[in-house]
């Protein structure tokens, strides 16, 4: 399956419809770069297979198409990935899926608008939500009082995409806490600081660059559908940190099962709030050396039942 790079415009003209004085100019949006294109290549390599062999497991009766699929991208920036996947699912994959509802999430309101514009440019219609990862989403089972704690809970998300801020801060900064700061336009110093934080969209991954990704993994473990997949981009030391934390967690609970014989695969057992949940498998799909960095995209998912 071919995924074409979506059209996008790097023009700064974004109309902001914020009348509450929160912004008087648009904060910068992270422009598509090598990491974005690596994610696109992963979709080209892996998406068709995932739709055909995993997501189609939910097909009921005679129906031979899966879906509608709920697709969510975190930190959508320009919206390249959302536009590409939305187009692929309504286009080349339409014989396998009945369609998709795509939601792009970003903390930066300009990025939300950019995403909508990029999608329009490519003839696809998506919704954008200004929010912090998946904190705005309804939790599965919250309205069900007869919840069985031993029953695995699944969420609604079929495909989750995240190209997170993966770089260590120069001083090992923690990820900036997401918040809305009311900015007094007379207070230039404060305003500059806010812009600086928003500009550094690629920074702030915490000491290992994975703080934000780990928060996303906790939420994703509860919100992925049974056969859902989470594509996440990591730099080499992000993955090392995930492996280190997993090993530590197993030692802490005297789990004898400490091994991993394949450097491209690890079972993550510490994410999610339901003790009944199966661990998530994290598998490397594609990696690439770019100047000074080694990037890889992983697919994170629950193993299929083989019984």
């Amino acid at each position: 399956m071919i995924i074409n790079t979506p059209d996008y415009s790097i023009s700064d003209h974004v109309s902001l419809d914020e009348n509450n004085g929160e912004f008087n100019t648009s904060p910068a949006v992270y422009e598509p770069a090598e990491d974005t294109f690596l994610m696109l290549d992963v979709l080209e390599l892996d998406l068709e297979q995932v739709v055909k062999t995993r997501l189609s497991k939910t097909n009921i009766g005679s129906s031979d198409k899966c879906g509608p699929l709920l697709v969510i991208e975190l930190g959508s920036g320009f919206g390249i990935l959302t536009a590409a996947i939305s187009k692929a699912l309504s286009d080349s994959l339409s014989s396998y899926a009945v369609g998709a509802h795509c939601i792009a999430v970003d903390m930066n309101p300009t990025a939300c608008l950019k995403t909508i514009m990029t999608c329009k440019l490519n003839g696809v219609d998506v919704d954008a939500v200004r929010g912090d990862l998946l904190t705005w989403m309804r939790r599965p089972g919250t309205t069900d009082v007869n919840n069985d704690p031993n029953k695995e809970v699944f969420g609604p998300i079929d495909i989750l995409l995240f190209n997170p801020p993966y770089v260590r801060g120069p001083k090992g900064e923690l990820a900036p806490t997401p918040r809305v700061t009311k900015i007094d336009t007379n207070d230039q110093a404060k305003y500059q600081k806010q812009v600086a934080v928003e500009d550094a969209a690629w920074l702030g991954g915490g000491p290992d660059g994975v703080d934000v990704l780990k928060r996303a993994l906790h939420q994703a473990a509860d919100l992925l559908s049974e056969f859902g997949v989470f594509y996440a981009l990591m730099i080499d030391y992000n993955y090392d940190a995930l492996v280190r934390d997993e090993m530590q967690a197993r030692r802490d609970r005297s789990d004898q099962n400490i091994y991993y014989d394949d450097l491209n695969n690890i079972e993550l057992t510490t994410f999610g709030s339901s003790p009944a949940s199966r661990p998530l498998i994290c598998t490397r799909i594609l990696s690439r050396n770019i100047i000074g960095e080694r990037l890889a995209v992983y697919r994170i998912y629950r193993p299929l039942d083989f019984d």
Partner: protein
């Protein structure tokens, strides 16, 4: 923002909120834009929806429809019914307005079609 997205939103992350669902809607501007009726999509999205929340949301934003609180049984073969659902789910868009937490009345503004669900640091549970 479409009602399909509203069906997934919650204010559960606010401090002290137990369920935070559904968010009430106050719509100031609503836009209707036609899109192709995909029967299979609508048929298969219905079981995934919180139906009552969807029907109430449509009423809240002033889209009078004769959809009742109870989903009819044989909707799969009822094209007129599916088209109504399609219209409300996919073609009606809230451009400006507010979402309101059912427990705390915290307001989340919707502007340019984008709901702002970011919380302040001191609001997070």
């Amino acid at each position: 923002m479409k009602l399909l997205t509203h069906n997934l939103l919650s204010s559960k992350s606010l401090k002290g909120v137990k369920v935070g669902y559904p968010l009430r809607i106050v719509a100031k501007d609503v836009k209707i834009s036609e899109c192709e009726f995909n029967k299979e999509f609508v048929k298969k999205i219905i079981p995934k929806l919180d139906w009552k929340v969807f029907v109430n949301a449509a009423v809240e934003i002033g889209q009078t429809s004769d959809l009742s609180d109870e989903l009819i049984e044989d909707y799969e073969d009822d094209d007129d019914y599916l088209k109504k659902v399609h219209h409300l789910l996919m073609e009606v868009e809230i451009i400006n307005g507010e979402l309101i937490c059912p427990e705390t009345d915290r307001v989340f503004p919707i502007s340019a079609g984008i709901p702002n669900l970011l919380l302040n640091e001191n609001e997070v549970s």
